[in-house]
């Protein structure tokens, strides 16, 4: 997808009298940005803020798309929980966005997307019959159905087992190519594998962390990947201490 805009976020977020974070974040367009930092530092809050969801606090500052157009309606969202509706079939879950906007759902497209995430045989099944990994694939297809230039992922793979998680990372990197992706994660390995830009959030600053010179999606076993992962982990432990 060409022309996916970047996003800049600059300002301070407060919870009551407490400053949760000060941030000056630049998310480049058409690339993967991975957001790390210890729990409670406000990673998900940034994401919710830009999505226009309730954050429980007040933000003083601004967030804008680099192309100057409003962000509303240009971001799709995927969370840690798959949020599939148990009473709908897999294919109906994928096109739920259409129904929620009062449009006639585009079933054929939903089936294509299901094919793309490798679940074409499961269109008419209910989510309860699927494994955790399959359910996250359906959630990914639902995110793709929205067909928006910006995609926010809030720890979408963290509840999956290691093998499934690696598969999902590859699939997501492939199907989301060219979109502006902001991935909140706790996993340095995941960040180093997927990111074009790694940003570490702490209470007072937003720091960009160097990524290996190789191109994402990176080889898990490559020397640079492993070394970068180790350095990032050490850095995160330093912040947490």
């Amino acid at each position: 997808m060409s022309g996916s805009p970047g996003i800049t976020v600059k300002g301070q977020h407060r919870l009551g009298a407490r400053v949760l974070f000060n941030t000056d974040l630049h998310i480049p367009g058409g690339q993967w940005t991975c957001l790390l930092g210890r729990s409670g530092v406000g990673k998900s809050t940034i994401l919710r803020l830009i999505l226009g969801l309730d954050t429980g606090g007040v933000f003083h500052g601004s967030f804008d798309a680099t192309d100057g157009d409003p962000l509303t309606g240009r971001i799709s969202y995927m969370a840690q929980s798959d949020l599939l509706l148990p009473w709908l079939s897999v294919v109906d879950n994928i096109c739920i966005g259409g129904r929620l906007r009062g449009e006639v759902p585009w079933i054929a497209r939903a089936r294509d997307l299901l094919d793309r995430v490798g679940l074409s045989g499961h269109a008419d099944q209910k989510p309860a019959t699927l494994s955790g990994g399959m359910r996250q694939r359906v959630a990914l297809a639902r995110t793709l159905f929205e067909d928006r230039p910006i995609v926010f992922l809030d720890e979408p793979f963290s509840a999956l087992d290691a093998g499934t998680r690696a598969d999902m990372q590859e699939l997501a990197a492939e199907v989301l190519q060219g979109r502006t992706v902001l991935l909140v994660t706790h996993d340095p390995a995941e960040a180093v594998r997927l990111a074009h830009q790694i940003t570490v959030l702490s209470g007072q600053e937003t720091q960009n962390w160097p990524v290996p010179d190789t191109t994402a999606l990176r080889d898990i076993n490559a020397k640079e990947t492993l070394a970068s992962q180790a350095r990032l982990l050490a850095h995160l432990r330093g912040i947490a201490a």
Binding site: S76, L83, P86, G97, L100
Partner: protein, 249 residues
Amino acid sequence: MKIRDTVLALLIGIGLWQVLVGITGAPHFILPSPWRVAQAAFKSRVIIAENAWVTTVEVLLGLLIGTLLGVVTAVQLALSRTAERLMLPILVFTQAVPVFALAPLLTLWFGYGMGSKIVMAVLIIYFPVTSAFHDGLMRIDGGYRDLSISMGAGKWNFMRHIQIPQALPSLGTGLRLAAVYAPIGAVIGEWVGASRGLGYLMLLANGRAKIDLMFASLIVLACLTVVLHISVGFLAARLTRYAQGTGAL
């Protein structure tokens, strides 16, 4: 509940009843024996059936109207904060008024026919249905709301496609309660003033010292309530299975 267990429990109940009659030696116009009641029920089967039919219609219409009103109110309350703020205290307050005490008034307003009994049944089930369904509508996973907002969902579409289906098991809970309350409402309405229905027949039999007929009417009423309870239980289970994705509606 297995059929065998039910039959066994029934037989034990009837046995105990018979033993009680034997031990106390109560005259039949105080405590008739099961056999006597069975005879009376058979002898008066036509009149019992006619009156049972009237009560059944009152109860079913009361259930239907009460449920519809309850569902509409719950959805309205869930859609509008203002409605919720204004209506909930009123709803709770109306619950503080014993509905039974309204029966004479309802008879005055709606007459001696079925109308006042249906209104009575509606009033008695309206609150449990509204409150159970409203709770279900509000107890929504915040994640669904976030997802819907990010998808640009309207309030009503969110209600229709996510909140309502998700709250169906709660509606089932309300319906189970309603199935127990509705016959009580109808019968109390009949006691206060009616010329037909099982409640009326019980009073009539009592007045003429036909205690066996009164018992027969009472047992038929209990059977009606049990059948209703079981049917609504099936419906409620179906709603739950649908919402969990393990069955069709």
